[in-house]
Symmetry: C2
Subunit: 347 residues, 2 copies
């Protein structure tokens, strides 16, 4: 191996190299569609405990790699571990998703900021180290965090929400305080991702899962600026790992996200037009995505033609094959096997 | 009045005329934020009965016009009246929204097609006629229908849904049958909008409320094609009224919608960048939108500066002022009064 040239396909692609066979990983590849995951999960009581136990988190991370020829492992964790480590009462209710006491305007952000303790998340570092030592040579390890707007909406709404109504009201009513909330999350995210890099992550990803429906003037202020600050903060601390940004649901605004935040790669959701992004983004921007999880669930001829179409959409560019959103629990394992096979075929 | 030149500001704008003061109406302007609406609604048992009683529907339509200096009335109805008139069991559950028995692949679409009866919706025509005779001279009357993809998702999911999962599965599994379902809805929509035009509607609007998150290859097939066919079908039947299309949540793909469907005006949601659309759409395309309903709820200085910004975004273009989504029930009436005042001010 030549010094400085990574031998892992995902890292080569993230350095801008093109290839006829794109590296592939799958959002939520460690998860409920795997019987071994469901078994492991059943042995822990709370989901937060499961994430913060290096043994279970590393095992869950490694499970899909034992089945499928994937090019990356992504550490098993949750985007709400940061609020948890700010002493917000994050809990996961089966069938309902995450819940917490809604954060209200005027509540002491200072208290939250002071409560923030990276030590509470040291288990994530331990899990990364365990995974790194167990990974095959060609598999890259991804660390991640939720992006500030998305994490803030969970904190303010008290869980997932259709239209982020309370967050939007707060942002209109007191944009400066909202900036302050996001700044606290920016700083925590830098700490957290820095720690993940030191622990063995080779790629970092920012999940802006709720970039959809955001009033347009907020996009610059509450999506782009925080992402830019996180990237800059990591670089200042000497973290030069590639960073994948995923502003899900923001349509064409993702061009601005890619061009203005300093991210290495842009992950697209299934609604975004791969051809258009291939044509309109600078060649330096690596693209990831964007097969519809629903066609993976369906399988068969539709899956085959969609895999071909997605590969073709990004041909000639540095491209990481992935879904446009997480794999769903009802997806048959054979469809995932077939997907990996189809992506790795040259026809 | 010179022959052929409409004196109503909304119709002038829809003919491409620009003005320093844009015409304004508000999505869901007849609705729960008005005490007189809540009172009227409480007198009817079911929501479908309320919509299909010309007296209550016309009264609800007229209520906001008595309070605010708006440039349009939109007939009080629901996008699920078409499934109702196909004998699907549409019902509205308080606090949960619309519900119906989910339509399944393989179920006889023919049965649904045969059940379709425009007569079941004749009350909408009667309500339009009543409203038309009561409107002030300068106020235009809008009729509408749900666009086929959106209506199909409600039918398939059995109500509103976050990710339209079952609809996406069906569309991937059997796109030809899905086309057939949408074609049935296209034909019914043409009948229904034609009837509304004859009854006194001066503008028609297509609500594609769920254009978000749709896999990109479906956009052309299940959003653009049906809209184009509805526009063409209406023109074939001699309906030359202006048509506003509202593909909510589709980001930059709305450019294709505007350029390929034959609609007169494109309604933007609050996430869409007004400046970008102003610059990238042909001047013939009238734009509508796109104030965030949340800033109308908040009011005050934020409302004032946002109204200014939205007006400025579309200056020099034919523009209809509106929200990016419906007004919410918790919006104070004084904020609506202030909005109309701000839009009509020249500063």
């Amino acid at each position: 191996m030549v010094m400085g040239v990574p031998s892992k396909p995902l890292l080569q692609t993230l350095m801008g190299q093109t290839s006829t066979i794109p590296p592939i990983w799958i959002m939520r590849q460690a998860g409920r569609y795997l019987p071994e995951y469901r078994k492991l999960r059943a042995e822990s009581s709370s989901f937060v405990d499961f994430c913060l136990n290096p043994k279970t988190a590393s095992e869950a991370t490694l499970q899909p790699l034992r089945r499928f020829d994937l090019d990356a492992a992504i550490i098993f964790a949750d985007i709400l571990l940061i609020p948890f480590a700010m002493e917000r009462d994050v809990r996961f209710v089966a069938g309902e998703g995450p819940k917490m006491r809604p954060l209200k305007p005027g509540q002491s952000l200072l208290k939250m900021e002071r409560a923030w303790s990276l030590d509470k998340l040291s288990a994530v570092g331990d899990a990364l180290a365990r995974v790194q030592s167990a990974l095959a040579d060609k598999v890259a390890l991804i660390g991640f965090a939720g992006a500030p707007w998305t994490v803030a909406t969970y904190m303010i709404e008290g869980g997932g929400s259709k239209d982020k109504w309370r967050s939007r009201l707060w942002a209109w009513q007191n944009p400066d305080e909202f900036d302050r909330l996001l700044d606290i999350l920016v700083e925590a995210s830098i700490d957290y991702l820095h720690m993940q890099a030191k622990a063995g992550a080779e790629v970092l990803k920012l999940f802006e899962s709720w970039a959809e429906g955001l009033p347009e003037p907020f996009f610059e202020r509450f999506i782009i600026r925080p992402a830019k600050n996180i990237v800059a903060g990591l670089r200042e601390r000497g973290v030069y790992l590639p960073i994948i940004g995923f502003p899900r649901g923001c349509g064409g605004l993702a061009v601005r996200y890619a061009n203005e935040t300093g991210i290495t790669a842009l992950a697209l959701d299934q609604a975004q037009d791969g051809v258009w992004f291939s044509q309109n983004l600078p060649k330096e921007t690596v693209l990831q995505g964007n097969l519809d999880p629903a066609v993976l669930r369906v399988g068969g001829a539709a899956l085959q033609s969609e895999v071909d179409r997605v590969k073709k959409n990004f041909s000639g560019r540095a491209h990481i094959f992935n879904l446009g959103h997480g794999i769903t629990p009802d997806t048959p394992i054979e469809h995932v096997e077939r997907l990996v096979q189809l992506v790795k075929e040259t026809r």
